[in-house]
Symmetry: D2
Subunit: 146 residues, 4 copies
């Protein structure tokens, strides 16, 4: 199964005075892709919080920064989830720089910038106590996007 | 002429503890739309900075916050530029909430969340001294996107 | 009466690829100073939200960017509030760069970087409907910090 | 030797719609403490970049989120560096919530919110190629703050 992929663009807001994306901002791209993976399965986190009182909270992560992203880069963010016990998910994620539009015969390939593993717990929206993953989420983990 | 429009999604990163988008973050949406307006006219700000040594710097702005944007909202950001002297541009901008996908006969209309006027100067990338707008920019102001 | 002042430092997170502070991030410094002005009067916004269900929401602002702030700059952010009707406050604010520690006889003076006027409404934490400023706030407006 | 410590306050800008600090923003607190650890040893990163053409770039990190920080919390961020080869530093870091001012006999103790290990490489400011740590940095690693 190919992993879920989501594209994001690098804007001025993402860069820092070193001319590259600030190290914390890659976590935003990773989170957008996890959100869009959920949305593609029909899950709105806004509704989850309002109607069921549950949130997803990151409990730990490991990230390797291999090459910097720069202003105007188009990024391809991947997201491969798997259950981790009854109340957690583990996401293998990566960020590649999309190749510039090919003007020559050999299409250049995407460059790996970042790889990460992110652990996310299902928690109660007020108390932040762990909650079992809802059944529809466990099903979503096995289902293809609509 | 219809104004340029660019869509952005509200993610967790954009919201604050009040449950709505943090007031400074609307400026990021406005800037993304100005960047995409330039990109649609073939202008890469990364190349502008590297090859011509010029940047666009915001010199002043006025913004009215009418209704808050919330997690998962899809936003439509508009951008209407006009020259303002030899070295500045003025952008009339607005942010609307895109209507949720219509499931009923009468399509709901987009809601105005924010309106703004942003003044931007062309400056030297190192000294931040004002520079005349390059000729190709003045032409771009009169041209439709490719 | 001298205006309230609060110091902030410029870190990598605040800068952008132009080598200066990103234009939206000055709004964070302005907000920190308004928060600290309230705190100096014994007002915790966290308690206000939890116990009284009220928030302060920015309804409009105007900002002039005169000179850019850079990495490592120490900033002095001022904040002069006045009531504006029964449910709003207006804040005159400025950001100066603190002079580097003087090593010579004539101390250099602080440089004005940004000036702003920010309008803030008292709103209900859920509905965002306007609320009258609580009596203790109106008193705080006339009172010196503890 | 006690680790270096730096205090930061949680503002609205740091929180997200879940009512707690957004997970990427803890990385900003960690970076502020590393910057202040350097500053306490007389090292300005702005000067390092301008005069010697070197930057510090994070190459990998691991972070555990144990308890969420909330609006108005005062945080104590620690930073214990050690050399890691000729061109890298490893920082053991933690974030504690400072106890509220004690009004009762037994002072409450600080609560651990986050622990992290951050690897940082010394790189050339333009090419991002690894550089040996400058001699003064290796000395700084062994020296107490001025």
């Amino acid at each position: 199964m190919t992993p879920f992929r989501w594209r994001s663009r690098v804007y001025w807001e993402d860069t820092d005075g070193g001319g590259v994306v600030y190290y914390a901002n890659y976590l935003k791209y990773l989170e957008r892709a996890r959100t869009e993976w959920l949305r593609a399965r029909g899950v709105s986190q806004h509704s989850l919080a309002l109607e069921r009182g549950i949130l997803f909270a990151v409990t730990s992560l490991r990230i390797d920064y291999r090459r910097p992203a720069r202003l105007d880069d188009e990024l391809i963010v991947s997201c491969e989830p798997r259950p981790r016990g009854a109340a957690q998910l583990a996401f293998e994620q990566s960020i590649h720089r999309a190749p510039a539009p090919a003007t020559e015969p050999e299409a250049p390939s995407a460059q790996l910038l970042v790889s990460a593993e992110v652990h996310v717990a299902c928690v109660h929206a007020q108390s932040f106590r762990p909650q079992r993953l809802p059944a529809f989420m466990l099903e979503a983990l096995a289902r293809e996007p609509a």
